[in-house]
Symmetry: C2
Subunit: 342 residues, 2 copies
């Protein structure tokens, strides 16, 4: 921290319309807060041109040049090897050398994960860092870990996701003793595949508030604050969810096109549908955290608007203030006592 | 077949309100067709009492007594061992000994699968029978295999699901050369977990119309007629889908409760929402087939209405007429040439 300020290193080249959303989001956030500084990282000329459109406190927003941009279709490992002056790598190094307290990016998710792990390293005793996605429920929220950082998980990884996810739910969402569940195909302990059956054993023996298995239908029903699963299924689920909402919106539109009266009705309906779907809006959630790396790294959607960028910055600030990284460090060490032979 | 008639053995004790839905569905179907006979299997007294409410062609609906009922919460293997006079086992035996051409049940899915495998056996060269679920898309339908018959799949199983699913799509949904895809976390061949990467190899070498990997977001986008995945993820997905639709309906209801005017608007909207969701209605699809057993076995939802039962009966008839079982037998044998060391 810098004289009471929290400094965020922000990848300015991540969104589909970069650096527009990043610059607008940064300016807006600095305007509305008084303890944040932001370093915009990326192609300086482009960023400055965008910044010139705004008036803002120049002592709190600065620019750091990085010549390369990682595209949405670049392979994560290739981008690490070949684009050594990317905004992602440069932005993370600024965090690593303590010029910034956190890193935020709406760029290529795989590349941000790989680079975060490469630059920041893992927290001791963490096998695999994880990203989570928030689902709205009637009771509040459920966070699903992992949603794509790790496929072919081992039972121990799922156990660690539960520990890290629990810390996140406690300190970011104020759940005092978050209920933690395992995603499976039946409630009984014996139901599931080899991975979940073994992970159940580990979770059951721990001091976590483990409530057992939940099924696909329980994700949105608020049965648990944290649900853990292999990143393969988590990733399929979050992409499927996005598409369900798109499909429903399109169907409403088609219905509207069928007649003039329906057009009016459906127009009204559509507003209400939007209200209903608002809870599912990724923009509201401030990106997803990569937990388990030795730093604070927040990853957002490529379609992020200035508002989404703002929420990501505020989420990063919250994670820094809560000291999530150090709490995970302690908790993971504590929890290892419940795991045999590790 | 019996003098030009196709005979369906129908578990009359499967639905939540059995035997009401089963009897009503059977009577209605027999009334509207002229080449079907139905054997209602279950507790005779209850079935006869229900049947007495209708007038129907007594030469085409008969009752076969079975004293026991498998509950929704009975374990599949326990039900096989302990309830030897269940409507499921009895109904399947009627099919096995050729008194009926197919078996239909809306009972405990796991129990019907286990009993079908036990009584009918597997088709030669099929490692694991599979159940599929239909998803509506803009282009028509996509069927996802497997949705819960098999967790911890091997690559060969996924390959076989593709073969069997392809036959089903061709002969039941008239897709001449169905596109077959593998559910994964990225389009590239290298993306996925160990299972999908290996399954890709098998599918690619075959003569199937394999179009590669699709992601969670592609399921509803009509990219392929058949998508294969491990039954763990398929099961989580179908249960999640059901809950998404329930959640959206509830949110609309809550919105309606907020004010009087909203009540009127939302009331109108709700009708349209129903239209939109109709495509997702399990009742329309006539149950899901268990492919790979040496017979025709159709499994339906416990909440099946008479209409859903009727669609299941008609689907069974269609499968018998198309000779799906024998086509799968041939195709699986043919396809084995593409699989090394089997």
């Amino acid at each position: 921290m810098d004289g009471g300020f929290i400094t965020i290193s922000l990848d300015a080249m991540g969104t589909d319309n970069a650096p527009f959303s990043e610059v607008a989001g940064a300016v807006e956030t600095v305007r509305d807060t008084d303890d944040l500084k932001i370093i915009l990282v990326g192609q300086e000329e482009k960023i400055q041109k965008e910044l010139a459109k705004y008036t803002y406190d120049k002592s709190r927003i600065s620019v750091r040049h990085a010549s390369e941009v990682v595209g949405m279709h670049d392979s994560p490992t290739d981008s690490l090897r070949k684009k050594t002056d990317s905004s992602i790598l440069t932005g993370l190094k600024i965090h690593k050398n303590n010029e910034a307290d956190a890193f935020v990016s709406a760029g290529n998710t795989g590349a941000v994960m790989a680079a975060s792990l490469f630059v920041l390293g893992r927290i001791a005793n963490v096998s695999r860092p994880t990203i989570g996605q928030i689902f709205p429920t009637d009771q509040g929220i459920t966070i699903l870990f992992d949603v794509g950082a790790n496929v072919d998980c081992k039972p121990l990884y799922l156990f660690e996701f539960a520990v890290m996810g629990g810390v996140y739910a406690t300190h970011i969402y104020n759940c005092e003793n978050p209920r933690i569940a395992l995603l499976s195909v039946g409630e009984e302990k014996s139901k599931g595949d080899a991975l979940t059956v073994e992970a159940y054993e580990l979770l059951e023996k721990s001091s976590l508030n483990f409530i057992g298995n939940v099924e696909g239908r329980d994700i949105l029903r608020g049965k648990a604050e944290v649900i853990v699963c292999d990143g393969f299924i988590g990733n399929v689920l979050i992409k499927f969810t996005e598409s369900v909402l798109d499909v429903l919106k399109n169907k409403f539109k088609k219905l509207a096109a069928q007649s003039f009266f329906q057009k009016i009705w459906v127009g009204m309906m559509y507003g209400s549908l939007k209200k209903v779907l608002k809870d599912f809006d990724y923009q509201e959630f401030g990106g997803v955290p990569l937990l388990g790396v030795d730093g604070v790294s927040i990853i957002g959607h490529g379609r992020s608007t200035p508002k989404a960028i703002r929420n990501m910055i505020l989420r990063a600030e919250q994670m820094v203030k809560a000291g999530i990284k150090d709490i995970i460090k302690e908790k993971i060490k504590d929890m290892k006592q419940f795991v045999p032979n590790v």
